[in-house]
């Protein structure tokens, strides 16, 4: 049942896809090619002298302790964001699926955070948790927690994870809700007649049927934590205190634009590029296979 338009003209199809091609080339391929080129070059801070250094930038990276530390930070950050984001949104979606009255309001409110720009989200959370004036840190202090993400690395990490999770929950929620709604009601009813209580029904029927969605979201959330959280971190902690929240993508920015090590920064970009390619391949390989129930 494939619908296909056959163009008589030779050039019309090319004209029609030209805007898309232009955008992809100008904003994706060209910068990527630039990064690849720069990663094998060394240039001074002003860009006046450029020297070919081969793989030296990459070798330097592996000998750089702060880079490896950043890997570790990123791992902690992205796993926390993915796990917390997925489990919270799954919980919310299960609740939303049961709500009968006011379901629309509930769902709309849950989707709102997605419309907030990442930097704004970072600032929002920054205010709430500001050690001196923040409303949450005030409450925490009342409970005996001396909150200060400017000094305490764990606090800072918690803050950016919360902000990043909050921002991503809407997206996960939508997918889980759609997934839940595509499970036929009669399956749940059959399980109820078979004697399964709600908790057991969830873990033996609903959760396995959601596993393609969950896996898809896992990959998407890791990619999100790796790349799209830059603005949150920049607004909330700027990678600090020290380098405790400087994830890989933040380090790319810092080393390139603050420390002016363009070659090293480009090499880090290339490493990130490889990671995202691997994640995408994994995604297509496994998700496509598992979806067809």
């Amino acid at each position: 049942m494939e619908k296909r338009v056959v163009f008589r003209s030779r050039w019309l199809p090319w004209v029609l896809i030209a805007p898309q091609v232009f955008i992809i080339v100008a904003f994706f391929f060209w910068p990527a090619a630039q990064a690849l080129l720069q990663s094998v070059q060394q240039s001074d801070a002003f860009g006046t002298s450029v020297e070919w250094v081969g793989l030296e930038n990459f070798i330097n990276l592996w000998n750089d302790e702060t880079y490896l530390a950043s890997f570790y930070t990123t791992a902690i950050f992205s796993v926390s964001v993915a796990v917390a984001g997925i489990s919270l949104s799954l919980m919310l979606a299960v609740f939303a699926d049961r709500v009968v009255k006011g379901a629309l309001i509930y769902k709309t409110l849950l989707i709102w955070p997605y419309a907030v720009a990442p930097a704004v989200a970072g600032v929002l959370w920054l205010f709430m948790f500001a050690p001196s004036v923040g409303v949450v840190s005030y409450g925490l202090r009342a409970m005996g927690v001396d909150w200060n993400h400017l000094l305490n690395g764990t606090h800072a990490m918690t803050l950016v994870v919360m902000a990043a999770v909050w921002k991503q929950i809407s997206y996960n929620f939508l997918f889980f809700l759609a997934g839940l709604q595509s499970i036929p009601k009669s399956l749940i009813e059959a399980a109820a007649i078979d004697g399964a209580r709600p908790w057991r029904r969830f873990w033996t029927i609903v959760f396995p049927l959601l596993s393609p969605t969950t896996f898809f979201l896992l990959v998407i959330n890791i990619v999100y934590a790796f790349f799209d959280t830059f603005a949150i971190i920049d607004a909330a902690t700027q990678g600090g205190p020290g380098k405790d929240t400087a994830i890989l993508v933040y380090k790319v920015y810092y080393d390139g634009f603050k420390a002016m090590d363009l070659g090293g920064s480009a090499a880090q970009s290339v490493v990130l590029m490889v990671i995202v390619v691997v994640l995408t391949v994994v995604q297509f390989r496994f998700v496509e296979k598992k979806v067809n129930y």
């Binding site: 036929p184 009669s186 009813e189 059959a190 399980a191 004697g195 399964a196 049927l209 129930y293």
Partner: protein, 340 residues
């Protein structure tokens, strides 16, 4: 095994002004081991009734008992029933074996016994070679049998069937109908079977409930329902083509409707005169559509005659006579059957 008793069962949706009552006080006593079919057009409340027995819908008013127990407030799992769904509702991520064993595992039946029971059910339903397969690797008919198997292994007191044959093609449906009959003979479990298909209802039922608009119109054996329909609705719903329900038959009393099945009208030399309006050849029989010639209001009268009977010509006049004892009379206002 158990009987099922429905006492004044009512179902309402919504509250206050927006209340929508879909079942209006159904009373029925289904005997132990009986096979009862609930039949009616779509939207008549037959599935809702079944789901109330299953415990998937709340009972707004009245009482349902299975055996000696009132089940109104029992969970589906506590009612000792098994249900076969229209879309089969097989767990797609589990193998056929796991599908059938799921309920037993939850009931903490020992593994040896689970295996024995599933194997037995698989043997009865000829599912042996497919136990390791996933539902998506099975044909429609096989899936239907797995759904039956899942019901059988639980050894419930009552089987509930919610249009289990409507997703099968005609040939398979006829075959599965026979299988269900055989299964019921062997296991003798009380069964409630919902369908919109009158052929299914007539062939499977020991007794049938005919429903319309949330009201039970008749509860009786297929023979009773066919030969003595309680209302004009039943008369028109059971039988194909349906019974002629005539307001203007020559000898009708005012305020009554005369009913006569097309197969109980014979073309004779004298009798009711009809103008032949249309003809349909169905193979073994022929349908003749006629209109009154005695000057009363216009009505279509269907006559069913054997294929070897000479066909009347279109536009010609024929005479028909109802067979003795086959006339029915109904009250025109209430639609209820009147004594002849």
């Amino acid at each position: 095994m158990a009987s099922i008793t429905l006492k004044n069962v009512v179902k309402r949706y919504g509250f206050g002004k927006s209340t929508n009552q879909v079942i209006h006080g159904v009373n029925a006593q289904i005997g132990d081991g009986e096979f009862v079919v609930v039949v009616g057009p779509s939207g008549c409340g037959k599935s809702t009734l079944l789901r109330m027995v299953a415990g998937l819908e709340e009972i707004s008013e009245g009482e349902i008992s299975i055996g000696q127990r009132v089940v109104n407030n029992l969970e589906p799992s506590e009612r000792d029933i098994a249900m076969v769904f229209q879309n089969y509702a097989l767990y797609p991520h589990m193998s056929v074996f796991e599908n059938m064993a799921y309920g037993l595992k939850i009931a903490k039946v020992p593994l040896d016994e689970i295996r024995a029971r599933v194997d037995k059910a698989a043997r009865i339903l000829e599912l042996g070679p497919y136990l390791r397969r996933k539902p998506r690797e099975l044909s429609g008919g096989q899936r239907q049998r797995v759904a039956m198997g899942r019901a059988i292994v639980r050894q419930p007191q009552v089987f509930l069937f919610d249009e289990p044959l409507s997703n099968l093609d005609a040939k398979l449906r006829a075959h599965t109908r026979l299988e269900i009959q055989k299964l019921h003979r062997e296991l003798g479990i009380t069964s409630l079977f919902v369908t919109h298909d009158q052929v299914e209802a007539m062939t499977l039922a020991q007794r049938m409930i005919v429903m319309n608009d949330g009201v039970m119109e008749q509860f009786g054996t297929p023979e009773e329902v066919y030969t003595r329909p309680a209302t004009t609705f039943v008369a028109g719903f059971i039988g194909s083509p349906p019974m002629n329900l005539l307001k203007n038959a020559p000898d009708a009393k005012p305020g009554t409707i005369v009913g006569i099945r097309p197969e109980h009208l014979d073309i004779t030399a004298k009798g009711w005169s009809l103008n032949v309006d249309a003809l349909e050849m169905l193979g073994a029989e022929r349908l003749v559509y006629g209109r009154w010639l005695h000057g009363a209001g216009d009505e279509l009268v269907i006559v069913r005659c054997a294929e070897d009977h000479p066909a009347p010509e279109l536009g010609s006049t024929i005479h028909v006579t109802p067979r003795a004892g086959r006339l029915h009379a109904f009250d025109a206002a209430t639609g209820k059957r009147l004594p002849i």
